[in-house]
Symmetry: none
Subunit: 199 residues, 4 copies
DNA sequence: TATGAATGAGGCTTCATTCAT
DNA sequence: CATGAATGAAGCCTCATTCAT
């Protein structure tokens, strides 16, 4: 399973604790509703000490975004790996859907996206994340199109973006109880139909 | 064009002014970064007076969500209208993509979605909106499948949701400069491929 | 029974409604916690209209104090009435204790007293009320002392004040559940002992 | 002299400053008329910092009530002390009358009592204070009755309460200029008459 | 590193009162 | 008499951040 846990290579365990606390808080209350005090308290450290590790509240969010970026890296690897494009796509859709549906990823992604619209620093990170994933998927689509596994795409990058949109959008709707978490096959069938070779 | 402007029938012009001011503020700064003072000031009224028209800040957001709901109603009408399912779908995708890509709708939608996760009152409204749209699209898909315009869907509701996700997701990416606003044909081709009858 | 109802001679029934509403509000929430809006709403009139009848919030309280004053008048009459000082005192203690123990009188008295410390207008009214009662009781004590029903008091006015203090203090304690409402005989025995002729 | 000053053992001098500032403010303007800003300003600290020491305005009042409680403890000691009940009572009446008549005690007591009617936390404290004092006095009365110094009381607790009411009531009237502060002997004579053995 | 007191601007909301209708 | 929108100062409290220890 991909992205199950953040990389177990903590250069600074205290920093890790803070991040975990922040994630929990942001998840429960949202970014703006969470106070720096809340994070420090949940991390079991003093308020002032938090500033010895992060320059401020926004830096904590940025770090979380950076970690998400690392996790997404794994998916790029997956996309580049297999010999069979169709199988790789199947595997990716399944795994990424699972990843995106986890509350900590769905909600935090939303919070980060929300911030990204106005905070340039975060927007850059966020776009970078997405762009990497899109590029990976784009390359897979192109390869598959060349090998005859997929239809020929006029704009493979856009198509890649749309596939991710579908996956992530569904994840959010599951979170809001607007969709059943079980209907994963429909998602795949949808993407499959949108990519398969026409007669 | 659908949903271009809210109906110019202000039973209470002052309330309307406040809503417009709030929309502008939320758009510029985001919901949480906007103060009630900002809204009142932008609306040209005193701070306290705002509370004669709305019970609080959240009520203003809720009212905006309700207006969005009204606008979405128009799309339901569109979906139910035409005799040719495929043409109706084309028209819908085009219009709704245009609607969703407008910053005031994209950004506000994001803000509202963000709030919906924790504020039940808004969540209800939000889900209601979506659900209506999904149902409309679902019925169109089913009709089209029966008439042979679309392939047979195993889970038409889920499929409808996925189509909306793709449209809305792309709109957001355009806003974040992660996608070119021009590539609308790819969106349609994507949805077309996902819905068309297989050989 | 004395002071059971405010005099049924309302020169202005609307004013009466407002007063009743205010009394209820002050009782429930306290003077400062009660808003003018609350009073108007409870009285079933509009906010602005209240100002057609009273010059402001404090004026409402002053009117209540004035009504209390009227009610206390009745007790002065009682004190001056009877031929037998001891019987009159008994009767007075009984009635006044009952009057003071009613929540609307006890709590409102406290609110008014609280205000009286800083609002001169109310202080005057309040002191006037008390003074009248004290004088009445003082005269009764003096008469009784002359007729041999009571002991000779060095400072009858002070004694009168102390008797009232005891009655009113007990009433408040009953309200705070610090005293049983039933132990009225003790009150009388206490006052009786303090006033009776020594051997 | 009892209760003259709170013990000069400030484990937290800043908290002490705040309390003193609050007492001054409440005395001058009353509890509800005093703003948290006023307290902080008078204490010479910033507004926000006050909340590092107290959870809110009411907590400040509660702390004051708690300090009053401590001061009353001293009177309980006095009541339990002496061998001669009558002398002890004399001493107590004198001291407690002096204590209750000091403006900071009389006015604050009134403010606290006023709040106690609606704030349960404060009501508990307040009742606790009173109850302790009443019990102390009650035991003194009973002892004195057994030793023949006082008459036999049917309900010594109620009698104790009435004595306190008289003392405190008079203190308030002095504050309101309704009584001369000098007439202390009358108070004692009143209580003496109410407690002494009958022929 | 670690603490938590200190800051003061800002948060949302309620206030008593006025005034045009 | 009656209405309720309008005012803006003031209400209590929380905020992210700094700094002396």
């Amino acid at each position: 399973m991909i992205g199950k846990k953040t990389a177990p290579s903590p250069p600074h365990p205290r920093k890790q604790r803070i991040i975990e606390a922040a994630v929990t808080c942001f998840l429960e209350a949202g970014y703006h509703q969470t106070g720096v005090r809340d994070i420090a308290h949940r991390a079991g450290i003093s308020l002032g000490n938090l500033y010895n590790h992060f320059s401020g509240k926004e830096a904590v969010l940025a770090e979380i975004a950076r970690i998400e970026a690392q996790e997404l890296e794994a998916f790029r690897t997956l996309l580049a790996a297999g010999p069979d494009p169709k199988a790789t796509l199947t595997r990716f859709v399944e795994d990424y859907a699972e990843y995106a549906a986890r509350p900590e990823n769905a909600v935090l992604g939303l919070e980060i996206l929300s911030e990204a619209i106005r905070a340039p620093q975060i927007a850059t990170l966020f776009s970078g994340n997405r762009a990497g994933l899109v590029t990976g998927l784009e390359e897979l689509l192109e390869k598959g199109a060349r090998t005859g596994h997929f239809r020929a795409f006029e704009d493979p990058r856009e198509t890649a973006g749309l596939i991710l949109d579908a996956i992530e959008g569904r994840a959010l709707r599951v979170l809001l109880k607007d969709a059943k978490g079980s209907a994963k096959t429909t998602l795949w069938r949808f993407i499959d139909a949108a990519t398969q070779v026409k007669p």
